[in-house]
Structure formats: structure tokens, C-alpha cells
């Protein structure tokens, strides 16, 4: 079972790594990080903060784009090219296929995150920005966030076209950062219906702001270990749930 999942993940990794979109986005991310050097002299003594903010934001943003764009066509492409028939004709269960695809893309994302992080630290070294390993905590949280975004992309990829999947996943990503406003709306609204719907959406939609600790690490604020553990648990559970839904949807497809 594990061998089959790893096999699919390995293939997905090899395919995605050759994707031009993927490589272009990494180059763009490194260019954006380097651009922080240009504005550094204008920042009146805040160059180090600006460099770290822009670097971490670029890594997160471009990783999310990779997850959305590459993840969005992950399953759909297999169905469209009919390669899925060949795979499923072998003794591969559908959930193994989904899990393999997901793990393959996650490996790609972690690898790209590693490349971008190396680029980020290199730029900080060249520009003389004081770099600390403490920033890596923010990137670890980005990995958790990517786990959920990728699972969302895989879910949409099982039943809509790549473009629609990318749009829907990106919408979920944006809304996922605004769920606290939904809760605020629930608290302020006099209507019980609005209250109920807002509360429901608050808990059903992924609360991605749980993973944003970039402000804290850049300013060197001491992190609460409980926050990190809870965020990890939330990411694992939410991802598992999304993959279960993906398997269910994919399982109902008639091949």
C-alpha cells in the first residue's frame, strides 16, 4: 500500500518539478526578495525589517501560487489525458491515488520552499541583513498553511477544470484569512440567521490566519509553543478531512 502511494507521489513530484510555471514562480520569488535591496536605502533605518517582511511574504505568496496553479490541474490532467485509466487499472485504490498525488505536490512545495529560503538567506547575507534561524518558525507555519491550501486545490481538481480550481482555491485562501471578520460579523449582527451562518462558516472554512506568525518572528517576539502545536494539529486534521472528501468525490466518478 505504502509503496503504491510513494510511487504515485514520486511520479507527481517528477512531473511537477518539470513544470515551467513552478520554475518561473521560484525565479519570481527570488527576484521579489532581491528587490527589497533596492528599497533598503529609503527605509530610514528599517531596512532589516523591510527585507525580512518582503522575503517572508514573497516565499509564502509564491508558494501559495504554486500550490494553487500546479495543484489545480493535478487530478484533472490525469483524467483529461486518460492516464488515470492506466493507473486505476492496476491494483491501486482511489484513496491511494489521491494521497499519492497530494504527497507528491507537498514534496514539491517543501522543496521549493527550501530553495526560496536558501535564496532568502543568501540575499540577507549579501546585503548584510542580520539573519536569524528564528525566521524559520514562520516558514514552518507556512508549510502547515500550504498543506491545507494544497488539499483544497486537490479537492477542486477532482471535479472542476484547472482554471476553475485555481480560482476557487485562491478564493478559499483569501476567505481563509478573513474568517475572523466572519466571527466579528456574527457577534455584531442582530439577525439570528446571519449569526448562525457566519458562525458555521467560521468553523467550516479553514482559518488560515492561525498560521501567520511572520510579524512575531520578524520583531523577535517570543512564540507560544502551544500555538505552534495547535496549528500543526489543525493543519493535519483539516488536511485529512479535505483528502477524505476528495477521495469520496473521486470515488463516485465513473471510470
Amino acid at each position: 500500500m505504502l509503496r503504491r502511494v510513494i510511487g504515485i507521489a514520486h511520479n507527481t513530484f517528477r512531473e511537477a518539478i518539470r513544470d515551467k510555471v513552478f520554475l518561473t514562480l521560484i525565479v519570481f520569488a527570488i527576484l521579489v526578495m532581491g528587490s527589497a535591496r533596492v528599497v533598503q536605502p529609503l527605509t530610514l533605518g528599517e531596512g532589516s525589517k523591510v527585507m525580512k517582511d518582503i522575503g517572508l511574504a514573497a516565499i509564502t505568496f509564491f508558494s501559495v501560487l504554486i500550490a494553487v496553479l500546479v495543484g489545480g490541474r493535478l487530478v484533472y490532467k490525469e483524467v483529461e489525458k486518460r492516464t488515470v485509466f492506466i493507473i486505476l487499472a492496476k491494483p491501486v485504490r482511489r484513496w491511494e491515488f489521491i494521497l499519492g498525488k497530494y504527497l507528491g505536490l507537498m514534496t514539491v512545495l517543501v522543496a521549493s520552499l527550501g530553495v526560496m529560503t536558501a535564496g532568502f538567506y543568501l540575499i540577507m547575507f549579501i546585503t548584510g541583513t542580520p539573519a536569524s534561524a528564528y525566521l524559520l518558525w514562520a516558514l514552518l507555519m507556512t508549510c502547515f498553511e500550504l498543506a491545507i491550501v494544497t488539499a483544497t486545490a486537490v479537492l477542486f481538481s477532482t471535479f472542476v477544470t484547472p482554471v476553475a480550481s485555481a480560482v476557487f482555491t485562491f478564493a478559499i485562501y483569501v476567505v481563509g484569512h478573513l474568517t475572523r471578520d466572519l466571527r466579528l460579523l456574527a457577534a455584531m449582527s442582530p439577525s439570528p440567521v446571519v449569526k448562525f451562518v457566519s458562525q458555521l462558516l467560521y468553523y467550516v472554512l479553514p482559518n488560515l490566519s492561525n498560521f501567520n506568525i511572520r510579524g512575531e518572528v520578524v520583531h523577535g517576539v517570543v512564540l507560544n509553543p502551544q500555538t505552534l502545536v495547535l496549528a500543526a494539529g489543525y493543519a493535519v486534521l483539516y488536511t485529512a478531512t479535505l483528502l477524505l472528501i476528495s477521495t469520496f468525490v473521486f470515488g463516485r466518478k465513473d471510470f
Binding site: 528599517e46 523591510v50 511572520r214
Partner: protein, 297 residues
């Protein structure tokens, strides 16, 4: 029939023109875009910085921008910070009106509540350049709520209370808070003691400004400190000569005709150098300078 295979040669005549047409159109497209942009920029010549900041004014507050920035609030705060510097620099060089300065710093700190440099720079420029010490204190108190362990913010609040609002009791309270926080400068406890003694001398003020100077790498803030030290020097000199002129009056029942008379009669050792290159003079009963307030830089 066997078709003769000919080597492909570059098209000549109308065929060649047709191949070049798209390229020519693309180049002209960019030229057109360039010309249009020039026209756009020409309509608001010299106001690019102002326009960049004015965009921020359409937002009611940073509370609106926070969700709009999704999860990139700190990076967004850097962008607004750069615009705040542009805005400050532009008005410093032109009309010295800073109507929106408080609003811009409110947005920066709403997007990144831990941005100590923004509170520090924002409060000092608001208090001295924009002449809004109350707004500056509000900004610092907001910063203290978000960063209760940071000593710089209560120190700045004490400084503004001491220097501008002349409220030595509150200044003492803020300096005391600052001195008890981790990593606080030793000077904070010194200023707490000075505030209690209400010693408002020029030397004390100069020392405080020098402490602010040492506290930052911000070039604009350092320039502001140097400007304030020069203002202090001017006020101190005028004060010194006025006291001599008043002593002269008390003994001779008239004010001197010129300041040199104070030196000749032994009321003053020498006339101090005017820090802006102007000249001191006495008219009626008060000592003045030829440098108008607007040119004291």
C-alpha cells in the same frame, strides 16, 4: 509530379513588409503607451509623491487595510512606511504642512502593531514638525498597548510631556514606566529623576535631544534632532541677552540702543553666534534675530 524543393529564402517586397508589420505594431503600441503615460504624469507634475500618499486617504483607517492585505499586513505596512517617508520628506522640503501625517502613521501601526520604529519616528515628527503633541501621545499610548514590554514608547511619551507639554508630573510617570522595563536605557531613570525636580534648563533639554539622537539610526529623525538643538541654541542665546538687557534697564532705566552696548558696559561677555547665520538685534525692549521663523533650518 515531383515538386521541386527550393531552399527557403527571406521574403522580399510586400511579403517581407507583412512579416515585419506585427513587430512594427508592437513597437508603436509601446511608444503609444509611453506617450500616454507621459501625458498622465504631466497633468500632475511634481505631485507624484503627494498622489501616492493621497491614495491612502481614501481608506477610512488601517482597520480597513488590515483584512485587505490578507496575510501580508507586515509587508503592506512597509509599503505604507515608505510612503510615509515620502510624504514627510516632500512636505519638509516644501510647505511644512503635515495634515495627514497622523493618519499615515495610524495606518502603518495598524498594519504592523509591533513596528516600534514607526511609533518612534511618527510620534516625534507629529509632536515637533506637525505641532500635534496630543496626537503623538495617542500614537505612543496605542503602541504601548500593543507592546507593553517596550521601553522606547513610554520614554518618547515622557519626552514629549517634558519638552512640549511641560507636564513634568506625567513626564516623570512615563520615564518611570520606561526605566522599569527590560533592556531600558540607563538614561530613562535619570530623566525620571530630572522630571521630578522639574529642572527645565536648556542643558537638560539639549541632553534629552542628544539621547533621542543616539537612540536611532533614522536619518530623518536625526536631522530633526539637529534642527531642534539649533532652535534651542537660538532660544538660549536670546534668553541670555534678554536677561542682560533687563539688568541694564534695571540699573539705567533705559534699554541699550544696540546689543554691542551690553558688551561694552560689561553686562555680556560677547554676543553669541547666531546659529542660522543671521544677526541679533534689540528693538524697543526685546532681543530678536534677523532670521524669520520660516527659515530656521
Amino acid at each position: 509530379m515531383v515538386e521541386e524543393i527550393r531552399p527557403r529564402s527571406a521574403p522580399t517586397g510586400p511579403g517581407r513588409l507583412a512579416r515585419l508589420l506585427p513587430l512594427v505594431l508592437i513597437i508603436w503600441g509601446f511608444v503609444g503607451v509611453y506617450l500616454l503615460q507621459l501625458t498622465f504624469d504631466g497633468t500632475s507634475k511634481g505631485k507624484m509623491r503627494e498622489r501616492l500618499v493621497r491614495e491612502l486617504m481614501y481608506f477610512p483607517s488601517g482597520q480597513f487595510l488590515r483584512p485587505a492585505a490578507i496575510e501580508y499586513q507586515t509587508a503592506a505596512s512597509d509599503v505604507v512606511w515608505l510612503r510615509a517617508i515620502q510624504y514627510y520628506g516632500h512636505h519638509l522640503m516644501t510647505d511644512r504642512r503635515y495634515d495627514w501625517l497622523g493618519h499615515v502613521f495610524e495606518i502603518v501601526t495598524e498594519l504592523d502593531p509591533r513596528f516600534i520604529g514607526a511609533y518612534h519616528f511618527g510620534a516625534i515628527t507629529l509632536a515637533w514638525d506637525a505641532n500635534q503633541p496630543r496626537e503623538a501621545i495617542e500614537l505612543l499610548v496605542k503602541g504601548m498597548r500593543a507592546n507593553p514590554m517596550n521601553w522606547q514608547l513610554p520614554f518618547d511619551a515622557g519626552f514629549i510631556h517634558y519638552m512640549l507639554l511641560r507636564d513634568y508630573r506625567k513626564a516623570g510617570v512615563f520615564f518611570e514606566i520606561a526605566s522599569k522595563l527590560p533592556d531600558a536605557w540607563l538614561v530613562t531613570s535619570r530623566w525620571a529623576a530630572v522630571s521630578v525636580a522639574k529642572a527645565g534648563s536648556y542643558d537638560t533639554a539639549r541632553e534629552m535631544w542628544l539621547d533621542i539622537y543616539r537612540s536611532t539610526d533614522n536619518k530623518a529623525l536625526r536631522a530633526l534632532v539637529l534642527r531642534q538643538i539649533r532652535v534651542l541654541k537660538l532660544e538660549e542665546s536670546i534668553d541670555l541677552m534678554q536677561q542682560a538687557a533687563d539688568r541694564f534697564y534695571a540699573e539705567r532705566e533705559r534699554y541699550p540702543y544696540e546689543l554691542e552696548e551690553l558688551v561694552r558696559e560689561g553686562y555680556l561677555e560677547q554676543i553669541p553666534r547666531e546659529p542660522y547665520g543671521g544677526r541679533y538685534f534689540i528693538r524697543d525692549d526685546s532681543v530678536r534675530t534677523t532670521t524669520p521663523p520660516g527659515r530656521r533650518d
